[in-house]
């Protein structure tokens, strides 16, 4: 059984369609990265999954519970960390977590043990008695995450968990999310693509409210235009080299990127995805006896996928 399955979700804000026909499945134990430009509908989709906003049409199931027919059951299986982590500023960290634990139905000893567990997990022990309004952004984020973990939900929905943090904090939160993935299914949205590459095993790219792609990062980058690109830097004559490079069967286009300040020329060879033209290109240049200092095959990243899928020009 899949952890989350959405069927043709639509959300309309007045005349604007924020989410159009979004259907996807998340299997148990997956870490899914939700990618998309600002305003693409990521947050809206997440808010519908958590039951904060009802969908205009369509439905979703969380652990088999329909979000509109059994909202409480669905929410009991979900831990949600909203964007910007709204918290009660007038409470202390442990008070807030106690309150949230009780709100999720925990009682007696379970409240204490769960709060202790999530504080330990999120590194909040030292801030136990701090007022929430005195916490730094990084710690607020951790409190939000701790809140989401309370009650052992199977599914975690994290809306931009690393938004606005410094690189060290981002690394810490990333490690935390990665370690959480052992026991939870995670859906997270972010703008940091390298992060998704590092921790997610499935990526959903959403743009203009529609799903553009949903696959593993490897599969997404495989068929990319940028995949076969090779760049070369050498010193020597241009015309014949370009002509000979073009003669290689898999090559589609040669781009002359100009002479670098130190006098070396830079060429970019565009070839079929999945081919490697480095050896042939090097051989051609060396055949002429020109000095060669750089041959590089572009490794396609999620950034390329993202740009290719969501570019509007």
């Amino acid at each position: 059984m899949s952890m989350v399955s959405t069927e043709h979700l639509y959300k309309e804000y007045g005349r604007i369609m924020a989410v159009k026909d979004v259907s996807f499945e998340v299997e148990l134990g997956e870490i899914v990265g939700f990618l998309g430009p600002n305003g693409a509908g990521k947050t809206t989709t997440m808010k519908m999954l958590t039951g904060y906003m009802p969908p205009t049409a369509g439905t979703a199931r969380i652990a088999g519970h329909d979000i509109s027919e059994e909202p409480l059951e669905a929410r009991r299986h979900t831990g949600y960390m909203p964007e910007n982590v709204p918290l009660y500023d007038d409470m202390r960290v442990y008070e807030y977590l106690y309150y949230r634990a009780k709100l999720k139905g925990l009682i007696g000893k379970s409240v204490r043990s769960q709060v202790g567990y999530v504080m330990d997990r999120c590194g909040l022990e030292s801030k136990r008695k701090s007022m929430i309004n005195t916490l730094s952004k990084g710690y607020r984020q951790r409190v939000g995450l701790a809140d989401a973990l309370l009650g052992e939900p199977e599914l975690l929905i994290l809306d931009e968990p690393t938004n606005g943090l410094d690189p060290n904090q981002i690394r810490q939160i990333r490690e935390l999310v990665r370690s959480l993935a052992e026991e939870h299914t995670v859906i997270l949205s972010t703008h940091i693509l390298s992060e998704v590459e590092m921790i997610c095993n499935k990526v959903i790219i959403i743009d203009n409210g529609e799903i553009k792609a949903a696959d593993t990062p490897e599969n997404l980058t495989k068929g990319l235009r940028a995949a076969g690109r090779v760049s070369v830097e050498y010193k020597g004559e241009l015309e014949t080299v370009m002509k000979e490079l073009h003669a290689i069967p898999s090559v589609k286009k040669i781009i002359y990127e100009g002479t670098l300040p130190d006098g070396w020329q830079r060429l970019v060879v565009r070839a079929e995805p999945g081919t490697d033209t480095r050896e042939k290109a090097a051989a051609i240049i060396q055949h002429h006896g020109y000095p060669l200092r750089h041959v590089y095959r572009h490794i396609p990243s999620l950034e390329d996928v993202f740009v290719e899928m969501t570019r509007h020009d």
Binding site: L72, D90, Y99, L103, K104, G105, K109, Y117
Partner: protein
Amino acid sequence: MSEVEKTKEQALMRNTSWLYTLRTLYSRELRVYFCTSFGWVIFACTMALLGFCLQAVIQVMSKATGEGVMYYMLNNINFWFFFIFLFPLITMRSFAEEERQGTLEGLLTAPVTTSQIILGKYLAAYTFYLLLWVPLLLYPWMSHLANTYTEWRYGIKAEGEITYLLADWIGPYAILSLSGAFFIAVGLLCSAMTRSQIIAGILCTSFMISYYFLGRVTELWGEFPAAPIFHYISCTEQVSSFSRGLLDTRPLVLYLSLTVLTLACVKRVVDYRRWTR
């Protein structure tokens, strides 16, 4: 880590009953009044303003008509002047502030129903409102203290002591809690309609002032065919008769039904606003 692992292995004890969740919400809401300066400021100001109304004690002594001190305190323009502003102050932050801060999102995505959230907020605000009147019960004791002192210091036995007579106190408390139940619900409705505390406050204040004046329409226009309606809803008239010790079931029906209706409206508003958010 062993302790952590041990905790993980234990099955979590849960209580998903309706009342348990309501109690959690209620105590959090009540906390807002007493663990921040907000509630205490309202409390202190109300006490001070009620002190002004206590000048009515002088009337008790001079007239000696048999009505209790509460009658003179509540049928007094000083009292109405701040009474109608109490409700917007108590309720305006409840939903508006949560929505502005975004904490409503955390609340609505927890496994709780909208009704529980509304009832939790309502009961907490109402409890706070009821507690505002408790210190009044100290007045007879204080007046007794003052009289004893006067007698000891000057040898004069003072008349007109404020007494703990059930008939003097039950009526005023009954009407204050009945009308308060409705006015708090109205305040909650205003707060649920907007994310701005100021706007919620303005809405509720306008309602309170209109309601107050509707009750006085007959004073301005005399009796006319529709006048009984205005008598029926007149808060000032109800307070006047109740504080004399005349208990009446009509306001009970009026305010309880209006409270239920208003709370139902709050639920509609909160649910409706989720669609448009």
